[in-house]
Structure formats: structure tokens, C-alpha cells
């Protein structure tokens, strides 16, 4: 049933597949990034095509840039910085990975970055250990060098309240995967921090009229608002009248339906339709399949689970994969 696609270097810390599943980037503890490619779409054999040093410290996470902006990745390193690297062929026809931009660490570490595309603009949202969120716009669509800070805020509903020095362990973010011309740019964000108000997952939407980001929904029941969030994943929507977002907290994995129309206060209607037992601890990662009907999750119990809803809307664990040596 399972097939081994490739064997990774010693001390690999993280991997990420590109949009088509034809390239894999793998980061290691000594700051090296390896790129694996497959020659043709039908083949399942991958070979390492590039290997280069990103940083002197360990790579924690790799995020691919959307393909219409090039073959590029963002690497988050353990020193709290992150950098953008791009594959280019320049003079003399030599293929190389080039550093486009380094976002150095200042007072806080970066926890996560995610890319979103709206109209023709590439946006980068980065969450930091001090609970700040920064959104950058790419200025030139053909060049990943110049980024402009577009907004900076904290993950709280009441913008008046500011929290002094939160300490965040991790952040979970996901852009709305839909990208129609009319689509508002929006993403969902939650924290695992010591400030309860920051934690709960909120859906942020860009208000075109006032040119600012607004929280339009909060994905937590009143009694759960302080729960640490481990992972969030926005489901692809191929035609549902509502959005589905999975949120993993210390209490388990909850499925949220989010309506598409704003109420007079500018909020979206939300409903928690399921709370699933999850992984007896931290959830590391959640991934929706292409139809948005099956959720794959993995966590600290070391297994992979698949979740589906039946016709009555009841979510259940459909299958479990247990790694064995």
C-alpha cells in the first residue's frame, strides 16, 4: 500500500512539497536545504538536485512561495529569522538557489509565515513570538526582493487592548485557499501563548474600503477562548455555501462552519459542528484533501488520522496510519 519515495539525509528537521507534488524541499539541523525533484509526472523516483546552506542554525519550517511567483521557499530558522530563497538560472546557464531576502530577527522570533495571493498581489503574513502579526506585500511580481510592510497587529478582537510582553510558543496560520477575483483576502490565525486573549483562532479579513485588517470571526466557544491553538487549516471550497475550517487546540480538533455573509457588525456567522478527540496531545499538522472533504492530521501520538463527515454531518475518524519500522 505504501511506497517509499525517497530517503532523507541524516538530521533532516522538516520537509515541504511544492504545489504539484513534484518537488520536495528538506531542511536540516545544520541549516542546509536540499531540493528533490522527479523527472516526469508519472514517475515516483526523486533525486536531489540542489543542496545549499541557508543559515548556520537549524531550519524549523519550509514554506513554498505560490508558483506564479517563482520556484522559491521561505525558511524559518531556529535563530528566529527567516529568509526567501529562489531557484534561478542566470548568466552562463547555471541553475542556482539565490537568497532574495532575509528577514532578520529583532526583538522577537518568527513562529510561522504563510503566503497568500490576491488578484495579482503576493502577501506574506508572519507571526512572531511577541504575538505580533506582520503582513508584507511584494512590490514587484517578478522579483522577490522588495517587500513592503502593509500592516502590523495583534491577534485580538478588541483592537484597543494591547498586551505588553506575551510569550508565544507557536502560531498557526492559514490563508483562505480560494482565490477568485472577487475574493476578499482573509486568513485564520491562532496562537499557543501565555496570554489567553491572543490564543483563540480568528478569521482576519482585509477591509478594502478602510484599507485595514479586521477580525470577522472567532473560532472558539466562549469557555474555550483561552485554549492554546496548535494548528488551523482552512478547507478548499469547491462549491459549498459555507466555509469549513479545522482548528486543533489542547481540547481536540474542532470543525467550524463559517458563513459567507457579514452581519451588521461585520461579523461572519460561525458554528462548531464537531469536536474530535484528535491525537491525545499536540496536533502537529492538519491537511485538507483537494475536495475539502477529508482532513488528514498528525500529532504527538505519532500516527496519521483521516477524518470525514457522513451524510448526517457527523464527523468521524475514518482511518489511522501507524508508522512501524
Amino acid at each position: 500500500m505504501e511506497e517509499t519515495l525517497l530517503t532523507l539525509d541524516q538530521d533532516t528537521t522538516c520537509t515541504a512539497w511544492n504545489y504539484s507534488g513534484q518537488r520536495l524541499a528538506a531542511g536540516s539541523i545544520n541549516g542546509t536545504l536540499a531540493i528533490y525533484d522527479s523527472k516526469d509526472p508519472a514517475s515516483s523516483s526523486f533525486t536531489c538536485t540542489s543542496r545549499f546552506k541557508v543559515q548556520e542554525t537549524s531550519i524549523l519550517k519550509i514554506v513554498w512561495v505560490p508558483p506564479e511567483f517563482g520556484d522559491a521557499v521561505a525558511c524559518i530558522c531556529s535563530d528566529g529569522s527567516y529568509s526567501l530563497w529562489e531557484e534561478v538560472v542566470e548568466d552562463a546557464d547555471i541553475l542556482q538557489w539565490k537568497l532574495c531576502k532575509r528577514f532578520d530577527r529583532n526583538s522577537s522570533r518568527v513562529l510561522d509565515v504563510q503566503f497568500g495571493v490576491f488578484a495579482t498581489c503576493l502577501k506574506l503574513v508572519a507571526a512572531y513570538s511577541d504575538g505580533q502579526v506582520k503582513i508584507f506585500d511584494l512590490l514587484d511580481p517578478l522579483d522577490l526582493i522588495n517587500w513592503q510592510l502593509q500592516a502590523e497587529f495583534q491577534n485580538v478582537i478588541e483592537s484597543t487592548s494591547k498586551f505588553g510582553r506575551p510569550s508565544c510558543l507557536s502560531a498557526a496560520m492559514c490563508w483562505n485557499p480560494q482565490r477568485g477575483e472577487l475574493q476578499q483576502s482573509s486568513f485564520v490565525l491562532g496562537f499557543n501563548s501565555d496570554i489567553l486573549q491572543l490564543n483563540s483562532s480568528k478569521v482576519w479579513e482585509f477591509d478594502q474600503d478602510h484599507q485595514r485588517w479586521l477580525p470577522v470571526a472567532e473560532l472558539a466557544l466562549p469557555e474555550d477562548k483561552g485554549d492554546q491553538v496548535f494548528a488551523v487549516e482552512w478547507a478548499p471550497n469547491i462549491g459549498r455555501p459555507y466555509e469549513v475550517i479545522a482548528v486543533a487546540t489542547c481540547k481536540g480538533i474542532s470543525m467550524w462552519h463559517v458563513g459567507s455573509n457579514h452581519d451588521p457588525n461585520g461579523r461572519l456567522s460561525v458554528e462548531r459542528v464537531a469536536l474530535l478527540s484528535g491525537h491525545n496531545g499536540e496536533v502537529w499538522q492538519m491537511e485538507w484533501d483537494m475536495s475539502g472533504m477529508t482532513l488528514a492530521t498528525t500529532g504527538s501520538d505519532g500516527v496519521v488520522k483521516l477524518w470525514q463527515s457522513n451524510l448526517n454531518g457527523v464527523w468521524h475518524e475514518q482511518a489511522l496510519f501507524e508508522p512501524t519500522s
Binding site: 513534484q22 529562489e86 498528525t298
Partner: protein, 715 residues
């Protein structure tokens, strides 16, 4: 949406979430890494392929310097339940083969649904369409006939060696009988009999069947003399007759020793009795439309005729049973064997039960000899229940599950069985039969389900199947056919399928664009082109990059490129840097008007080229062409103002052309106006000063004025 792979045993792993709440199935993932495992990471690849990265805890380097693997990436295909019956290549053949019948049926459906209501006449036509569809799909699933037919060639071969049929085909035919074939409604028992004849071997796996017993007996037959002495011989005949395999029964009877030439004299009565039974068997009345040429029995198409014939036939059997000849038959195995056969034919339930193994066989025997007039699903269902009680089976057989669902008139069970045992291909294709043959099923399939985001089960089935198709590089291209028949979410999924294609491969790119064109997915198509364009642009294929950007009508990026090229405009003619971009601009072609900047560049290139010729020679023709190019360039609104002066400065030689003025009065005026405008613009703060000697403006003005003077004189 996954359907699980085959080794799921008996667990429910339905693709479509119809079953209430299945227990999750656990699958091992063998990675072969040494513990400790630090982390897993997951990613969906094409379709419903899941990739799992298993990472080891980073270790201090091993003392012996031996590098160990730091992790493995595994791919798990959550494809379908095919039980290994059909290999991948065969499966793809079926997938491709079913596209045309499916698409044809959909288009027929669409055209009939536009006529408000299907009239009676259309309805017969409609059933023809359904049958045509069913037959075509059926033919993909295996050889047309695999029944245990008579082997004439070798008199001792009772069963032909045939390729084992698949459960897929058996299931399809079962649904065809009950849902699609309107003609079979009157003689469903006989259709089931034929069906069992084809597929009895599929039940042999876990328990004996008539088929498996017959296979065993045949092995013995080759070595046996005087078969009639052996009880197995008589059992085999009874069994074959009980389930209606008359030809085999008769063939076996005629292997009786009394037929041998040297025996005829002494065993005349015995032989007479055997033959009498054989003749009776071959005259058995059958309530069915027709019988194959090599089949025994007599066909009756309507019930009254059949009833008459049936009674007459039974009377003949009874008469033979009471005949005095039995007393003269000295071979007691023959006498007992034949008597038992007559009991079977007379519908003695004990004989029938003894002669059959699987309850399905007993069920068929009941139809043949005890209740030949059974009709209606309800009584068929009750009879099936009764037979199952008599011959209970251990374990669940997928065909039986399906049959019970059909007989129980429970479309939900049928769907669940199809989904559980046969996977998404069956779900997507058999739903057509189900919906055609059963109103309840049709309603179930077409009811919009809020929990599924407003789609119906029929659409869900197709989406699931399309997702399975898109899991493989060789089948994703046919997924759009199924998605286009999904009213609500088909196009949404198609967009996603397309956006995950590996566009670095030309064939994939072109195919994707073609699909976008067919289904009018302009935005998707232009996005695919942009991805290709940016990839090419950044990988040293600038020309191809620009080409795809133009195809995508991506003005934002094209304008960026144009701005980049502007840096080379106005550089001195001898400067080689423009040369390297010339080819690119050439490639943009005269139609590159989509971004203004590129149009300018193209005209500029023309101008530069003609100017080059002027500098290298003195031909007035060339100079005249250059002058025209200059005017065209200066008149064009897309020519940026900051290039006016450099262009005019480049053209000094034209204004001072020795032979005659190259520009007429009105042309010269155009240039003078531009100069005027330029003088005004210099006063503005955002004016960009051209990289030219300070006296450039004056020398240009002087030259144009001179040209004007000469032109006026000329005119």
C-alpha cells in the same frame, strides 16, 4: 475522499460516507527507520494520494562515521477497493473505456430532460439507452461468456477451463438484471440462474459449491472406469441439474457405462432408463425469452403455455418414476441415482438441499423445481432468507451483500455495498443503473444533502471518482468528463485538479490549457500560463516567459518587463547592450500590443534597425524609411516622454540629410510640437533628464528647424 486500499478485509471503508459510523481501520506504515521517530509530516499529492514524511530524531554522528537515513517519505495511495482482482493496467483500460458510454448517456439524459417529460414512446427508447450503456460497460469488465459450458471436443471434459470472472462483472450484471434490463423482469429467476452459472465459481473461495465439486469430480473422471459405480457421479449429476446446468447433467449421464458398445446388449433396460431421464431433462420447460443454441430445455414465453407444459412434464416424470422398468434394472447405483435425479426434478426439497452447497444454489434450485412461478422482489427476498437459514454461510460475501440489498429493495444498502466492496468506479457508473431502475434509489441519489454542501449523492460519487482518477498521471485527463456532469461542485474540483498539475512538463501544460479552453476556465488557464511564464523567465528562457505572459494577458508582469527593457533605450547606437534584448523584442512581434510599453519597444526596435542602415550607407530610401519609423514612433502615444529627446537626438542625421529633406512640413511640425511639450515638461519637478550632452536639445531644435525650412522651400 478516500476509499481504502484492498487489504481492509471486512472493515467498512466506504468511499461515500453512507455507512453510519464505521470504526476506523488501522493501517501500518512501514518506514524501516530506526527509532526514535521525532516527527511526522503530511501532504496531499495528486488526487487522493497522501505523502507522509517520517523523520528520525537528529542523532549525534555515529562513532563509525556511518551515515544513517534521517527520514523517509512514503506515499500512500488511498485509491480503491479492487481486491487485486483487476491490475492497474487493466483498471486504466476500464477507466478509459467507460468514458464514452458514460458521456453518451449523460448527453442523452440532458437532451431528454429538456423535453419536459419523458413520454411513453421515449421511455422505451430510454430503456434502450440504459441497456446500451450497461452492455458497453459490462463488456469492459471481462470476456462476454465464461459459463461452465459444455466442452464438445473432449468427451471427458465437463467444464471448460476459463479465465476466472471478476466480482466486478458479476456485480454489474446483477444490477443490470434487476435495474436496467426491462425485458428480464418477467423471467428474473432464469436470469439469476444464468448469472449463477457464470459466477458460481466466485463463491467457491470459502466453501464448496457445485462448481468446485464439479471441478474436483472432473479430475477424478479422467481416471475412472465405469463411472456409474461411483456415488460421486450421481451426486454430480443431481447437483448440476438442481441448479439448471442441464447440458452438463445430460453429458454426464451419457458417460454412463451402458452406452458403451460392448455393454448395449446386456444393459438395454438400464440404458433405456438413463436415456429416458436424459430426454426428460432436455425437454424441461423454461419460462424465458430464449435459450442459447447449445442449451437444453424448451422455451415458453408466456405463463399459461409454460404452466401447461410444466404440468405435462411433471406428469411424465411421475409416470417414469412409477414405471415397471425400474424393477428390471439390475445396476442398483444406476437405479438409485436415477430415482434421486427424478426426485430432484420433481422438486423434492430434501433432494435439492442435498444436491446443493451454497444457499444461492439452493435458491436457484427452488426457483427451478419448487416455485417456478415466483415473481416479485418481496417473495424472492423471503425465499432467499429461507434458503440462507437452511444453508448458512460464514462471513460476508460482497456479491451476496449486494444481492440482498437489491432483493430487499433497499437502495441504501446497495449503495453502501457498492461503495464498500467495489469502490468509486462502480459508484459513479452503477448509480446510472440504480437511478434508472428504482424510483426510491433515484430520489436517494438525487436528493441534495446540506451536509455535503448542497450536492447530491450522485454528484458526490462522481467527485470521488474524479479524485481517484486524478491521482494518477495517466488518468487525470479523463476526470473532467465526470466533473463536467457535476452541476454544483464539478468545476470547482476541476480547477483544483488543474492547479495541481506539474506544468514544467510541456505535455501536461498543453493538455491543461486545452481542458481549460473546453470548459471555459479562462482564469485558471491564465494562471497556469503565468506559472509557466514566471518559471521560464527565471530559468533563462526569457522569450518563452514573455510569450506565456502575453498568452495569459498578464499586463502587470509584462509592464515590469517593458520597464526593464526601457533601460536600454536611448543608449548610443554603438552600445551593444540593446543588442541582447533585440531578439526578445523581435519575439514579442508586432502584435504585442497588450502592454503599451512593449508596443513602444517594438516600434523602437524598427526605428533603430532602419537608423543603423542609414549610418552604414547613404541610400536615400533607407533614410526615408528611418524617417517614417521616427514619425510613427513619435506619434505613438505609448512612447514615453523621457525617450523623446534621445530618439530625436539619434535622428540628427535624418534632419540634416544631404539630398533632400526627408520630412515634410506637417511631419516636421509634429516633431516641433513634441519639442515644445518637452520644454514645458522640463519645468515640472518629476522630469527625468535624459543622459545626453547639455546642448542636445538645442542641436535637435536647430536641425528640425533647418529641415522645416528646406521642406517649406520644397513644397
Amino acid at each position: 475522499m478516500p476509499g481504502m486500499t484492498s487489504d481492509s478485509g471486512d472493515h467498512s471503508t466506504s468511499v461515500v460516507p453512507i455507512s453510519p459510523n464505521p470504526q476506523p481501520t488501522t493501517y501500518p506504515l512501514n518506514h524501516g527507520l530506526k527509532p526514535p521517530i521525532a516527527r511526522l509530516s503530511i501532504s496531499w499529492a495528486r488526487g487522493n494520494t497522501l505523502r507522509v514524511t517520517v523523520l528520525r530524531q537528529p542523532q549525534p554522528s555515529a562513532a563509525n562515521g556511518e551515515e544513517e537515513a534521517g527520514g523517509k517519505v512514503l506515499e500512500v495511495k488511498l485509491s480503491d477497493n479492487r481486491d487485486g482482482e483487476i491490475d492497474d493496467a487493466q483498471w486504466r483500460r476500464i477507466a478509459y473505456g467507460s468514458v464514452t458510454p458514460f458521456a453518451l448517456l449523460q448527453s442523452r439524459k440532458n437532451s431528454t430532460s429538456t423535453l419536459s417529460k419523458i413520454s411513453a414512446l421515449d421511455s422505451t427508447e430510454w430503456w434502450q439507452y440504459i441497456m446500451e450503456y450497461s452492455r458497453e460497460i459490462n463488456s469492459l469488465l471481462g470476456n462476454p461468456k465464461t459459463s461452465p459450458s459444455l466442452a464438445i471436443e473432449d468427451q471427458k471434459t465437463v467444464l471448460k477451463d476459463v479465465q476466472k470472472p471478476t466480482c466486478f462483472k458479476a456485480a454489474w450484471e446483477l444490477m443490470e438484471i434487476f435495474y436496467a434490463d426491462q425485458h428480464s423482469q418477467a423471467w428474473i429467476p432464469e436470469r439469476l440462474l444464468d448469472w449463477l452459472a457464470d459466477y458460481d465459481c466466485l463463491f467457491s473461495g470459502t466453501q464448496p459449491t457445485v462448481h468446485s465439486e464439479l471441478v474436483n469430480f472432473q479430475k477424478e473422471l479422467v481416471t475412472r472406469q465405469a463411472v456409474e459405480d461411483h456415488p460421486k457421479y450421481w451426486e454430480a449429476i443431481s447437483s448440476t441439474l438442481a441448479i439448471g446446468w442441464l447440458e452438463i447433467g445430460v453429458k454426464l449421464l451419457r458417460l454412463h457405462g451402458s452406452y458403451d458398445f460392448d455393454q448395449l446388449g446386456s444393459r438395454e433396460t438400464e440404458n433405456g432408463l438413463v436415456e429416458a431421464v436424459a430426454v426428460l431433462i432436455s425437454k424441461m420447460p423454461r419460462l424465458r425469452a430464449d435459450l442459447g443454441a447449445d442449451k437444453l430445455g424448451e422455451c415458453y414465453k408466456n405463463k399459461p403455455d409454460f404452466v401447461k407444459a410444466w404440468e405435462k412434464w411433471q406428469a411424465q416424470i411421475t409416470k417414469l418414476d412409477c414405471s415397471a422398468f425400474w424393477l428390471q434394472c439390475e445396476h442398483h447405483q444406476t437405479r438409485d441415482g436415477l430415482k434421486n435425479i427424478l426426485q430432484t426434478m420433481l422438486g423434492n426439497s430434501t433432494s435439492l438441499s442435498n444436491a446443493t452447497f451454497h444457499w444461492m444454489e439452493l435458491y436457484i434450485a427452488h426457483f427451478l423445481y419448487i416455485r417456478p412461478f415466483t415473481a416479485g422482489l418481496e417473495s424472492m427476498y423471503n425465499l432467499a432468507q429461507k434458503c440462507m437459514q437452511i444453508k448458512p454461510v460464514s462471513g460476508h460475501h460482497k456479491l451476496i451483500g449486494l444481492l440482498i440489498g437489491i432483493l430487499g429493495e433497499n437502495p441504501e444498502v446497495v449503495l453502501a455495498e457498492c461503495s464498500k466492496s467495489f469502490g468509486s468506479w462502480m459508484m459513479a457508473h452503477a448509480a446510472e443503473l440504480l437511478a434508472a431502475g428504482n424510483i426510491q434509489a433515484e430520489m436517494l441519489l438525487q436528493k441534495e444533502q446540506f451536509q455535503l454542501g448542497g450536492i447530491c449523492i450522485e454528484e458526490l460519487n462522481r467527485l470521488v471518482y474524479a479524485q481517484v482518477l486524478s491521482s494518477h498521471a495517466l488518468t487525470w485527463q479523463i476526470a473532467p468528463i465526470y466533473l463536467s456532469s457535476c452541476m454544483k461542485q464539478g468545476m470547482g474540483l476541476l480547477e483544483t485538479v488543474l492547479s495541481k498539475q506539474a506544468l514544467q512538463h510541456d505535455q501536461v501544460l498543453l493538455k491543461s490549457i486545452e481542458i481549460c479552453r473546453l470548459y471555459e476556465l479562462g482564469t485558471v488557464s491564465s494562471n497556469l500560463m503565468k506559472i509557466t511564464a514566471v518559471h521560464d523567465w527565471k530559468h533563462g528562457k526569457k522569450g518563452s516567459g514573455v510569450f506565456w505572459l502575453q498568452q495569459a494577458r498578464d499586463e502587470v508582469r509584462l509592464n515590469r518587463i517593458a520597464k526593464h527593457l526601457f533601460d536600454f533605450v536611448g543608449k548610443s547606437l554603438s552600445d551593444g547592450s540593446f543588442k541582447q534584448w533585440e531578439g526578445l523584442i523581435e519575439l514579442l512581434g508586432p502584435e504585442s500590443g497588450i502592454a503599451g510599453g512593449l508596443e513602444f519597444l517594438n516600434k523602437y526596435r524598427e526605428f533603430r534597425r532602419s537608423l543603423q542602415q542609414v549610418h552604414s550607407g547613404t541610400a536615400t530610401d533607407a533614410a526615408q524609411r528611418a524617417a517614417e519609423a521616427l514619425i510613427s514612433l513619435m506619434k505613438n502615444p505609448s512612447t514615453p516622454q523621457r525617450f523623446w529627446l534621445p530618439i530625436l537626438h539619434d535622428s540628427l542625421k535624418l534632419f540634416n540629410w544631404a539630398g533632400r529633406p526627408l520630412l515634410n512640413v506637417s511631419q516636421t511640425n509634429v516633431l516641433l510640437n513634441k519639442l515644445q511639450e518637452l520644454s514645458m515638461a522640463r519645468l515640472r519637478p518629476d522630469f527625468v533628464n535624459a543622459d545626453l550632452p547639455p546642448e542636445a536639445l538645442n542641436s535637435v531644435r536647430l536641425a528640425i528647424a533647418t529641415n522645416l525650412g528646406r521642406a517649406i522651400l520644397e513644397e
